[in-house]
């Protein structure tokens, strides 16, 4: 699966059903989705929930590390969660966070500074992926978000390159128009095409669409199978399958597709 679902940490119904939508990861949100007066009750709700429910790939998006974030990390360190999603990440923030926890970290790239220092942010220990925060980034560069995210072009492509270089997940920004499935599909197809390893979402109804687009197609699986099989019996570095030239990068890609297909089967 290649989707991360943000779930407001103060909504019991949504928290309870967060895991049923087949997202790769669930991010319980204590930050933007929770108003100031609900921050404490959201923490209480999540703690009560995490005490009884055991699921993989649970993250908590904490608040600003200079504000409530530090205490939140310390409070949840004893719970069986995968890690934290860190807002307003930069190198200073990450060096602080590193002191508070050993859990996996997903910094959000949502400021011009973070875009420019993406590699340094991603190089901190325990960073397993980076998530593009499109809304805040658009605000910070004083533009309005468009359906095709042309204004985020540089940041999106850079995120893909940096994450691929570091061997961590590149997680694209949520598509916030929750009633526009058609444009969501286009946007997710673009994420996949440019190499984003996952897409985040703020609405459960978007998850099956994201998963379906990221899932290797039958044609891709068939071709990849042929490539891998042919590679076993071909000693020469270059050969052809279905009239297409196959060399080492194509074989690696084929193996990755089969690995992904297997992961989807398991889910």
């Amino acid at each position: 699966m290649s989707s991360y679902l943000f779930v407001p940490g103060n909504n019991p119904g949504m928290v309870q059903s967060a895991h049923v939508f087949d997202a790769k990861g669930v991010i319980f949100d204590l930050e933007d989705a929770v108003s100031v007066q609900d921050k404490d009750s959201a923490k209480d709700l999540l703690k009560a929930y995490l005490e009884t429910a055991a699921f993989d790939n649970v993250y908590i998006r904490v608040n600003d590390i200079y504000d409530l974030g530090k205490n939140e990390i310390e409070e949840f360190n004893n719970f069986d969660i995968s890690g934290y999603v860190i807002p307003k990440a930069n190198t200073k923030v990450m060096s602080l966070v590193e002191k508070y926890t050993n859990k996996s970290l997903i910094p959000i790239i949502e400021t011009p500074e973070a875009v420019l220092t993406m590699k340094e942010i991603g190089e901190f220990d325990n960073v397993t992926g980076m998530l593009l925060g499109g809304e805040d980034l658009a605000t910070n560069i004083d533009v309005v978000r468009t359906l095709d995210d042309i204004e985020l072009l540089y940041a999106r492509h850079k995120l893909v390159m940096v994450c691929a270089y570091l061997g961590i997940d590149s997680i694209d920004t949520p598509f916030t128009d929750t009633d526009n499935d058609e444009s969501l599909e286009e946007s997710v197809k673009y994420s996949k095409m440019i190499g984003m390893s996952a897409r985040s979402s703020i609405h459960p109804n978007q998850i099956p669409i994201i998963n379906e687009i990221y899932k290797p197609t039958l044609e891709e699986i068939e071709f990849a199978t042929k490539v891998v099989e042919a590679a076993k019996i071909n000693d020469s570095g270059v050969f052809s399958v279905d009239g297409k030239m196959v060399d080492l990068p194509v074989i690696i890609r084929a193996k990755n597709i089969l690995k992904k297909a297997k992961a989807y089967e398991k889910n």
């Binding site: 309870q16 049923v20 939508f21 009884t52 429910a53 459960p204 109804n205 099956p208």
Partner: protein, 463 residues
């Protein structure tokens, strides 16, 4: 056939007296004025011990509560009971018995002579001068009148009640040869309250997830094929199943044979888009269905007997796929849609057990937990539909196949769907919300659940 303009005149002609059985249909649902008006007029005559045989009783029927409390109405036969009447009956205020029948069991019992109706009061939207009636001409349209047909054919006396008399009807659903009197009133109901549930597709993510998985399980068990027949209710997850089924039928270029039961505008759209050849309509759930019934020759009327009477060859026996709800389902797949967890009556079978028995694939769709209450229980409080007739349970946490359907289990052996045992699902719910506290039943029986064949399959206890 005699035309009459007042209840006084009508009751003089009918010779009304104590101990009669009077019947009504529920096609006006919450917009019904006829049942209330008629019963209140009967009450004015100080008549006692009436048996009310109404195919459905709703919130709108609150005015008859005092008649139950003082014994004007002492017994009730119905297929569906909720609202204030359900409350007082649950609390033991009905003097004699409550029999909860099914949509197919009711016409069976009437036609077999088990339930003898003295006077059938039938609301129709219009009559002609020969006493024929239907539900779509006139000013207060109710749609198909399927639940009234056995009453009309078998009652000792039949009264049509309408607010519209025309020279000629666009079609005849109730044949004037059965009609003794026509009572013309100023109004019979509010047609905008006949709508059942919601007619817009839910955006609730859990409901949509259940609906998507339901269509996947239909596909993987081999029932998504040309000629499929399908029935679902209105609103919530049911309508969402229709939405995803439609999408899948279009994608796979599949054309169904028929959809049936209570008809919604959504099914009308599927008929008009060529996804089904025909609709069989026992009641219209919305005004789009009423409009289609009037104009589309492939949108057919059917009586409740043709729909679900087990002694005929009903439509439910030809159904491939049936989507059902559940208030509770137990580990033996028995379903309760009659009482809530506090013991109060909140519904009844309607066509639940008829369609479950008749269809090839009876699928219950429900959230695993509702309002912090697990839906899967060790034993249902009231058995509405026997577990042997339920094939699949779809929840947001996984899908359980009735072990009696080994064929389905085989087909789903390599499925990517989350197939679990019903006990596993029960355990997930317990982990989430703890084990529910079960109501301790009282010793006072206030009603009986009558299966479609006439056998009593459960009792209902006083709250």
């Amino acid at each position: 056939m005699k035309r009459i303009n007042s209840y006084n005149e009508l009751f003089n002609l009918l010779n009304v007296e104590d101990d009669l059985t009077v019947s009504f249909h529920h096609h006006l649902r919450n917009g019904d004025y006829v049942l209330n008006k008629t019963m209140l007029e009967l009450d004015k005559l100080n008549i006692k011990n009436l048996t009310l045989a109404a195919s459905g009783i709703f919130n709108a029927h609150e005015p008859i509560v005092p008649l139950i409390e003082k014994g004007t109405i002492s017994s009730i036969y119905t297929n569906y009971l909720n609202g204030p009447v359900a409350k007082v009956v649950s609390e033991g205020k009905l003097k004699d018995k409550l029999i909860m029948q099914t949509h197919g069991g009711r016409p069976r019992s009437i036609e077999e002579g088990e339930l003898v109706i003295d006077i059938a009061f039938i609301a129709v939207s219009a009559v002609d001068k020969s006493g024929n009636g239907n539900g779509t001409d006139g000013s207060t349209v109710l749609g198909a009148l399927g639940y009234s047909i056995s009453d009309v054919e078998k009652a000792k006396q039949v009264v049509l009640i309408t607010d519209t008399v025309v020279d000629e009807l666009s079609y005849v659903e109730i044949d004037g040869k059965y009609v003794d009197y026509v009572l013309v009133l100023d109004e019979i109901g509010d047609q905008f309250l006949i709508q059942s549930g919601t007619t817009s597709i839910t955006r609730n993510p859990v409901s949509l997830k259940i609906a998507r998985d339901t269509v996947s399980v239909i596909e993987e068990t081999g029932y998504l094929k040309n000629g499929l027949s399908f029935q679902t209710g209105a609103g919530g997850t049911s309508l969402a199943v229709a939405k995803y089924l439609k999408k899948k039928m279009i994608k796979n270029n599949i054309k169904g044979s028929f959809a049936s039961g209570g008809i919604t505008g959504y099914l009308v759209d599927m008929l008009e888009e060529g996804l089904f050849d025909e609709l069989y309509d026992v009641q219209c759930f919305d005004l789009d269905a009423v409009r289609s019934l009037k104009k589309n020759k492939n949108h057919h009327l059917m009586s409740a007997s043709e729909y679900a009477n087990p002694l005929t060859s009903p439509i439910v026996d030809k159904l491939d796929i049936m989507i059902l709800g559940a208030t509770e389902i137990d580990v033996n797949f028995n379903v309760n849609v009659t009482t809530a967890s506090d013991g109060y009556i909140i519904g009844g079978s309607g066509g639940h057990s008829d369609t479950a028995a008749g269809s090839k694939l009876a699928i219950v769709v429900t959230n695993l937990v509702k309002a912090r209450t697990p839906i899967i229980v060790d034993e249902v409080l009231t058995k509405t539909t026997p577990g042997k007739d339920i094939d699949i349970l779809v929840t947001e946490y996984g899908i359980a196949i009735n072990p009696l359907r080994g064929d389905l289990l085989n087909k789903l052996e390599d499925s990517e769907l989350k197939i679990k045992t019903i006990e596993e699902l029960r355990s997930i719910a317990s982990n989430l919300v703890g084990k529910e506290k079960r109501l301790k039943k009282s010793n006072d029986v206030i009603g009986y659940v009558e299966y479609r064949d006439g056998n009593i399959i459960d009792k209902i206890y006083k709250v």
